[in-house]
């Protein structure tokens, strides 16, 4: 056995120098637009830092489960996620506060993005509006209430309650009915009464795009990030501007607790929030900027959730309200809507 010890020591030393030469940062991201992200963000960052980025993708549930399962010895150093998922991870003690002094572009962020879930546990990097996409040759949409109205009966789809878009739709329907903010019980019952008029409840925006392109559905609420899927269709789709306004959401960056790779993670966050990268990501029509200094052409802006006026007008649902009520909403939804 002793004769192997020098070999083991040598190989260990080689591995160690290898690691030092190539630092590694593991991030967890949404699985959409990864090719575009590679070009706009990952490749330039790797070149700049001389490090290796390991990208993990999946749906929010899988990604959150992985962060939670590896809490003792974090695999993921940094993640991007919805604000309410971030809050739920923060409450489980899985995140560490972000030292915003390490982010040069921090002051350029919209105020709503600077501390969206409190205690500096997250920083917003993109906003999105949510409204109703519809066939303008067949219907017109003036209010969120139209979703449950006579003219769309049998031709409308709503987002499932379990996704990010579900609670936003509840919020806007509740607002249209004049309900108390955050109290969605009556709204869910109302959807339950119209359940037969709803073709299906979709889970992913790609699924909705397919339904609408097959003419199975002529109107549905969806996030603006999916607009390019509809805009490129031969069918005449339009984006509604309902009288109650548009809903809005934000995705945020988070840092896992005790990951030991904070320095590199801050480098990536700083780079991602910089005017240069936020502009590049916006021009590639991937994510709308949270950095106020980003300037894009009218044509690009038309595809995004862009500009102070629009962003400040969005109806945002408090992440704490979502976390506090989601189980009750899902229960009521399962009993009154899906049945």
């Amino acid at each position: 056995m002793t004769k192997y010890i020098p070999i083991l020591a040598l190989s260990a030393a080689l591995t160690a120098t290898g690691a030092a030469a190539q630092d590694k940062l593991t991030i967890s991201v949404y699985s959409f637009a990864q090719d575009a992200y590679k070009e706009a963000l990952y490749d330039p960052f790797e070149e700049m830092c001389g490090c290796e980025l390991v990208i993990e993708t999946g749906n929010s549930v899988e990604r959150m489960a992985k962060i939670e399962a590896n809490a003792a010895d974090p695999v993921i150093d940094m993640a991007v996620i919805s604000s309410h998922d971030a809050l739920s991870l923060a409450r489980k003690g899985l995140l560490q506060p972000i030292d915003t002094s390490k982010l040069q572009s921090f002051d350029k962020l919209y105020p709503a993005a600077q501390d969206p879930i409190g205690d500096s546990m997250a920083v917003g990097y993109t906003f999105y509006a949510s409204s109703i996409v519809y066939r303008e040759d067949l219907v017109s949409i003036e209010s969120w209430n139209d979703l449950l109205g006579e003219k769309l009966a049998g031709n409308v789809s709503l987002p499932n309650i379990t996704g990010t878009q579900g609670p936003l739709t509840l919020m806007m329907l509740n607002k249209a009915e004049g309900g108390a903010p955050g109290e969605f019980g009556a709204t869910i019952s109302e959807i339950g009464k119209h359940a037969d008029d709803i073709v299906t409840f979709y889970s992913r925006s790609s699924e909705l795009a397919q339904l609408m392109n097959q003419e199975e559905v002529i109107a549905a609420p969806v996030g603006r990030f999916a607009w390019s899927r509809f805009k490129s269709s031969p069918l005449p789709f339009a984006w509604a501007d309902p009288k109650e306004g548009q809903a809005g959401g934000m995705n945020v960056m988070i840092m896992t607790a005790n990951n030991g790779n904070e320095e590199l993670a801050y480098k990536l966050m700083d780079y991602w929030l910089s005017t240069e990268v936020q502009t590049r990501v916006a021009e590639a029509l991937i994510d709308s900027p949270a950095n106020m200094d980003v300037k894009v052409s009218d044509e690009v802006a038309e595809n995004l959730t862009y500009g102070a006026e629009l962003i400040n007008s969005l109806n945002i649902l408090d992440p704490a309200v979502i976390i506090a009520n989601r189980d009750a909403w899902v229960n009521q939804w399962n009993n009154e809507v899906i049945r």
Binding site: V61, A65, T162, V199, F201, Q214, E216, N335, I338, R339
Partner: protein, 274 residues
């Protein structure tokens, strides 16, 4: 026979090991999760919780109903088709039998997506309905129980036909003419001659179709969506949306029990008829 015991064991070992590692061990783990409470103690609480939810009850009964309907309908269609096939001359029998088997060689995903083209609002069925003036506008056929039923029937009918054809091929050639000569009606021929002689094929076919309908995921997911949940689509949601592995294991166990029970019930019915 010509092998000694050691050689026989050696030959069986790879298959036995494979089955043990990739089937029995995972099923064992699944069983243990499905009968444990959060504290780790043995418990049936998961089942009590599952059946106390009205949504789960309706999903359970819908799955059972569609399973029985699909198996029953494919038995009716299957007997007619199988009777026709075994009475064809040998060459056309081979060709027709090939056509029955052909769909099994096409991916269920492709076969299910084909139904979207057929049943969609811009699909063939709606073209006919609107063309004949039966409805002014295309009607909604997708995302209904009917769509799931049609999709599952198309998916599993060949299994029933194959089972019944091989059962009917074993019926002595003269028994049907003999029964007819002795004055039996076609109704009597079927119930007193063909059915008793092919019941084993019916048990096998029925079990395959019922089990297939219960465990299919793609078809209910695509043609039923989130409004027509079946146990398999609910199971997927539990894992992928709620990250709730206990409920998922409970559902998996329920499906396993339903499949075994179906086989036992069918065998029982077959033995009573004897």
């Amino acid at each position: 026979m010509f092998l000694n015991r050691a050689e026989g064991l050696a030959l069986a070992l790879p298959a036995a090991l494979f089955t043990f590692l990739v089937f029995l061990v995972p099923v064992g783990i699944l069983l243990s999760v499905a009968f444990q409470a959060e504290s780790g103690a043995w418990s049936l609480q998961g089942y009590v919780d599952f059946f106390s939810e009205p949504l789960n009850q309706s999903v359970f009964f819908r799955t059972l109903k569609l399973g029985i309907l699909v198996a029953g309908t494919s038995a009716v269609i299957g007997y007619a088709a199988a009777f026709c096939i075994v009475n064809l001359p040998a060459t056309s029998r081979g060709r027709i039998f090939g056509l029955v088997v052909l769909p099994l060689m096409i991916s269920p995903v492709a076969r299910t997506y084909a139904w979207i083209v057929i049943l969609g609002r811009t699909g063939i069925v709606n073209d006919v309905i609107v063309g004949l003036g039966l409805s002014e506008l295309p009607i909604r056929l997708l995302f209904t129980e009917t769509a799931v039923f049609i999709g599952l029937l198309q998916l599993f009918l060949p299994l029933m036909i194959i089972s019944l054809v091989s059962a009917m091929e074993n019926i002595p050639r003269d028994v049907v003419p003999a029964a007819r000569v002795l004055g039996a009606s076609w109704f009597q021929v079927f119930f007193r001659v063909i059915l008793p002689l092919t019941k084993e094929g019916l048990v096998i076919g029925g079990t395959l179709v019922f089990t297939g309908a219960l465990t299919a995921y793609i078809t209910p997911a695509i043609l039923g969506g989130s409004k027509v949940l079946m146990l398999e689509t609910l199971l997927y949601q539990k894992v992928n949306v709620s990250n709730d592995f206990v409920s998922a294991s409970v559902i998996a166990m329920i499906v396993i029990v339903m499949c075994f029970s179906a086989n036992l019930v069918l065998k029982r019915i077959a033995s009573v008829r004897r």
